[in-house]
């Protein structure tokens, strides 16, 4: 237990922030919808990591509960997201997010 505690909370929060920004950058710049979904997963996991760090710091179970909630939400999101991408691929023969801009103003 003590060995684990050697990693300080700010470090974990820094990693979490870095992961979140990597995911955000991926959402903003990647054109392939599969990668966009993966980036979203990274962002969700970054948030989950921050919750774990907070739960460990204050020794409260709420953070662990939130992680479970996030895992469920992420699984549902991937299920819906992948099926949408699959439908788009069947329909438009592409998974390039920039190509799929039928609702352009």
């Amino acid at each position: 237990m003590n060995e684990m505690a050697t990693v300080s909370t700010p470090t974990i929060l820094g990693i979490s922030l870095a992961l979140f920004l990597i995911g955000l950058l991926g959402v903003m710049v990647r054109r392939d919808l599969l990668f966009v979904l993966m980036s979203l997963e990274i962002m969700l996991n970054a948030a989950a990591l921050a919750f774990i760090a907070a739960a460990a710091k204050w020794r409260q179970p709420d953070g662990q509960v939130m992680v479970l909630l996030i895992l469920v939400a992420a699984a549902a999101e991937v299920g819906v997201g992948l099926s949408l991408v699959l439908r788009l691929y069947h329909r438009l023969d592409t998974v390039d997010g920039d190509e799929i801009s039928l609702m352009r103003g």
Binding site: R30, R31, V36, S101, G105
Partner: protein
Amino acid sequence: MQLLWLAPALPLLGALVLALTGGLMPRRAAAAVGCASVGLACLTTLGVAAGYLGSHQSAFRQPLFEWISVGRLSISMGLYLDQLSMVMMAVITFVAFLIHLYSAEFMAREADYSRFFCYMNLFVGSMLALVLGDSLLSFYLGWEGVGLCSYLLIGFWYRDRRNGMAAQKAFIVTRIGDTSLAIGLFLLFWRTGTLDIQRVMQVVSAPEMQAIALAAGLLLLGGAVGKSAQIPLHTWLPDAMAGPTPVSALIHAATMVTAGVYLIARTNAIYRAAPAAMLVVAIVGASSALYAALSALAQRDIKRVLAYSTMSQIGYMLLALGVGAWSAAIFHFMTHAFFKALLFLSAGIVVQALDEERDIHRMGGLFRTLPWASWTFLIGAASLSALPLVTAGFYSKDAIIWASWSSSRGSAVLGLAAMAASLLTAIYIFRVFILVFLGKQQREVERRPGVLMKAAVAALSLLSIAGGFVWMPHVLGGFSPLRGLLTLALGPSSETPVRGEAGFLALSAVETLVGIGAAFALFTQAPAWARRVAAMPGFGALRQFLLSGMGFDWLYERVVVQPYVVVARLNREDVVDVLYSTLAFLAWASNRVLSATESGRVRHYATGLLLGAVLVTIVLLLR
């Protein structure tokens, strides 16, 4: 007399028939319809006139139909025949009939034969409606019809752009006067509450209506000035020579320009009530007479000389009206119709014979080759310049000059202006005669008049001589049935003394002879002193000044037309609309900006979400 309605109806019917079926008719049939409708109108007029004079009625009214009936307003159309409209009607139908006969041959080679007769018939019909109408409305209807027909006929050869421009000029310039007339008629209707001309005259003659009479008199004069081509709205008339020659004859002799004279004569009760307006009429008339006679001296185009001459003679008529010589004005209208139609038709023969050559300096020596036209032109010229005793113009013009000189409203200035214009008239018309018919022949004659054209000018020649014997001055017996007749309709003219008339007659006779003599001396002999004067510096400029009609066109071009064009150009996009179009532009531009953000790309939206979140965070932190 019950057939009176046929007089305006027949030419209008003829126009209708020609307009609907003219294209299908053979040319002879079109000419026959055109001439017959006016000829029958002329016969009708003779019959009606005989019946009317025999019945000794003061005036004959013929209600025709109710035009508009709304609530308390009811406008009916009717005809009104008195001595004035009878004389006008007789002259109009007869002269117009002769001109129609002449045109049947003159226009024989034209493509749009039936269109020509259609317009001519409409012209005559409108003029008769104007003269015979019993209400201000039917009068105005005829007035506008006449304006329309003059536009159509001046621009008859519409394929040449200049003719179209001349037609538009005539229409627009007279429109200025028409607007003034319309305002005057509104004023009269507003103050008197009736459209019937006779009732209006009665109401306006009342003493308390003096201010209205003055205003209405001046406004009606504005209309007359436009239609009758007097200063300052005269510039359309010389350009109106772009139309075929019979049209010029019709416009100048029987229809159109005399409408203004008829208007003032018909509404003379207004002018009696407003002496100031009468003075303005006299001044406009006298200055136009003098101005046009001066301008005619320098013209090179034979038809333009005659155009300025018409302006000058109408000026005489207005002068007569202005000094209260109502009957003399109508008398001069009658003789002028005869000799001016004669001059135009003779000029038409000359112009056609020389293959559309109109410059009098390139004519000459036609007396031998075109004797018929030469003699008729000579008779017309003599009548125009008032050759003593034997011509109609002498009697009518001298009645006017004598009235402007000696009557109670006349004055020495008006009399002198009239006499000076008379002298100039003799000089300019004989200048044309000498240059065209005497001297060396310069061009071959290509076409000679046929029997119809000869007959028309012969009849007019006869009238140009004999038309004056219905109004003799006192010294020559005083036999003047026409004066008595017109006085019944127009009321008494201003008194002219009997004493001194003989001497005056002799004086003006001498004046005319001097004018004719001067023309012969100047233009056949060309004495040395005359050549020296012509070579003097400034003479060329003076001639150019007179040739351009004393620069009125130049002045109007700069004062009216060009500023108008500038304003029109500025207002091309409609200044008032700028406000609304700016609003529309703003909406459009913001729409463009906002719709550009709707790229349809998911990652752009995600970026937008991020930026929004950052913004909210910053705001929360800074709070």
